[in-house]
Amino acid sequence: MCLGVPGRVLRVAGDVALVDFFGVRRDVRLDIVDEPVAPGDYILNHVGFAIRRIPSEHIAETLALYETLLREAGDDMMAADVRSEIEATGRRTRDGA
């Protein structure tokens, strides 16, 4: 439940951003994040809400963990938690994808 997952912002509409998580596009609420978020930014997602805009210089190393986890076997609990956190951003996206 507590593992944040980073994703790249594709576009922003009001309090909701369309975010790309390793090829999966989801809506993320922007109510909580304390900095302006724009397309191209990376954010840390926690249960469907962006909790932090990740400074660009730290992006690669932060993403590396999750990319590796997502390649891991299906019965891996940490990878499963990451997947459920991506799911937490909702089943639908603004463009209906």
């Binding site: 439940m1 304390d34 990740i54 190393e61 590396a64 963990l65 590796t68 937490a88």
Partner: protein, 380 residues
């Protein structure tokens, strides 16, 4: 914070074996320099334990360093009567929306999964947003059984502030981490000499929140991230502070954590919730450890909206094995899963006796999944 440590923390690359070996060697050297054994530190985050177990870090820790998992699993510390409230509301006809981890957490007589099996309507959601959407689509009463620490509570607060339909309410079992660190630090049996604080909770609260704790208890706190090298680097720094007798807060996760934290999120949290004392399963009564809805949100508070009939549940006999469960002592850091007579026998992930075997962040579940790696430093 000194720039060299900032650099150390930010330059870390995931699973670089060279750096891992170097950090492990540094950890061993620093632990040795403490000059007594064993040195015991505690982390308070299920995700830290997952990373430690999954990447086999425990085997890389020096023999004289004990890294204890504290009460860092929000599902595990959700108290039995809180689960009972959810079960009772389901029996009373409400639709319960909750995070999937909660389903099999044992109540006094039933878990939410048991309630579902007997016809209760329990919906697993990944986000509070989904629970609100569910309420919008139905005229049934929807109760969001809200669990998790401050990071998750902020999401609940944001949903409340964004507006909810009239048939939506919240059964809050949210918990707040800083007060339980105080309790663990004050336990008479505790051997804990420093804390590794969870990076994502600190993203919200900021690392400054630990300064008061450090002043009161004279114990160092290091904020760490979740990559294996983040954890190793965090432990090196923590043991250095133990060695030097420096009770202070260091932030080894600067890419996500600042001193002030996310102030907007803190404002939302405290606008919706207030801290109250309450029991954490197996640990103790924790002053200010539970988050409950403020008076202004009484209409959203399931505890006020419904008369929750718990007495009916408590008449049903509780399971006999529970009395042997030592989850509380495990979360308090005084015993390990291997000390439990039920672990891996009567208590397994498919049939958990204690909450620590339920959640993917529970110590027993993690040890069962990845192998019960013994504390290499445990003294005979």
């Amino acid at each position: 914070m000194a720039p060299d440590r900032d650099l150390l923390a930010s330059e870390l690359k995931f699973r670089d074996p060279g750096r891992a070996r170097a950090l492990a060697a540094q950890l061993a050297a620093v632990t040795h320099e403490v000059g007594r054994a064993p040195v015991a530190v505690m982390h308070v985050c299920g995700s830290h334990e997952q990373a430690i177990a999954k990447f086999g870090l425990r085997a890389a820790f020096p023999r004289d360093l004990q890294v204890i998992m504290g009460p860092g699993c929000p599902v595990c510390v959700t108290d039995t009567p809180e689960v009972d409230e959810g079960v009772a509301l389901a029996r009373q006809g409400a639709r319960i929306a909750t995070y999937g981890d909660m389903l099999r957490v044992p109540g006094t007589a039933l878990s939410l999964a048991d309630a579902q099996a007997e016809g209760g309507r329990i919906e697993v959601v990944y986000s509070v947003t989904q629970a609100v959407e569910l309420a919008r689509k139905t005229s049934d009463e929807v109760v969001f059984f809200a669990t998790g620490f401050e990071t998750t509570a902020v999401a609940t607060a944001a949903a409340v502030l964004a507006g909810t339909p009239p048939n939506f309410s919240i059964l809050s079992a949210h918990k707040y981490i800083p007060p339980v660190m105080e309790i663990v630090a004050e336990m008479p049996d505790t051997r804990v000499e420093g804390f590794l604080a969870a990076g994502h909770a600190a993203t919200i609260t900021g690392w400054g929140i630990f300064e008061h704790f450090v002043e009161r208890h004279r114990l160092p706190v290091v904020v760490a991230g979740f990559e294996p090298l983040d954890i190793l680097a965090g432990l090196v720094r923590l043991v250095e502070l133990v060695r030097d007798g420096l009770p202070r807060v260091d932030n080894m996760y600067p890419r996500c954590v600042t001193r002030e934290g996310n102030r907007a999120a803190q404002e939302m949290l405290w606008k919706v919730f207030r801290p109250v004392g309450g029991r954490w399963r197996g640990i103790a009564h924790i002053p200010n450890g539970n988050l409950r809805l403020r008076e202004e949100w009484a209409r959203l508070d399931a505890r006020r909206r419904f008369h929750i009939d718990l007495a009916g549940l408590w008449d049903e006999a509780p399971a006999g094995l529970v009395q042997h469960c030592i989850c509380g002592e495990i979360m308090a850091g005084v015993r390990s899963p291997s000390d439990c007579r039920l672990f891996g026998k009567e208590c397994i992930p498919d049939a958990p006796v204690g909450a620590c075997m339920v959640s993917s962040e529970g110590t027993c579940r993690i040890w069962h999944q990845y192998g019960a790696v013994p504390e290499l430093g445990a003294a005979p």
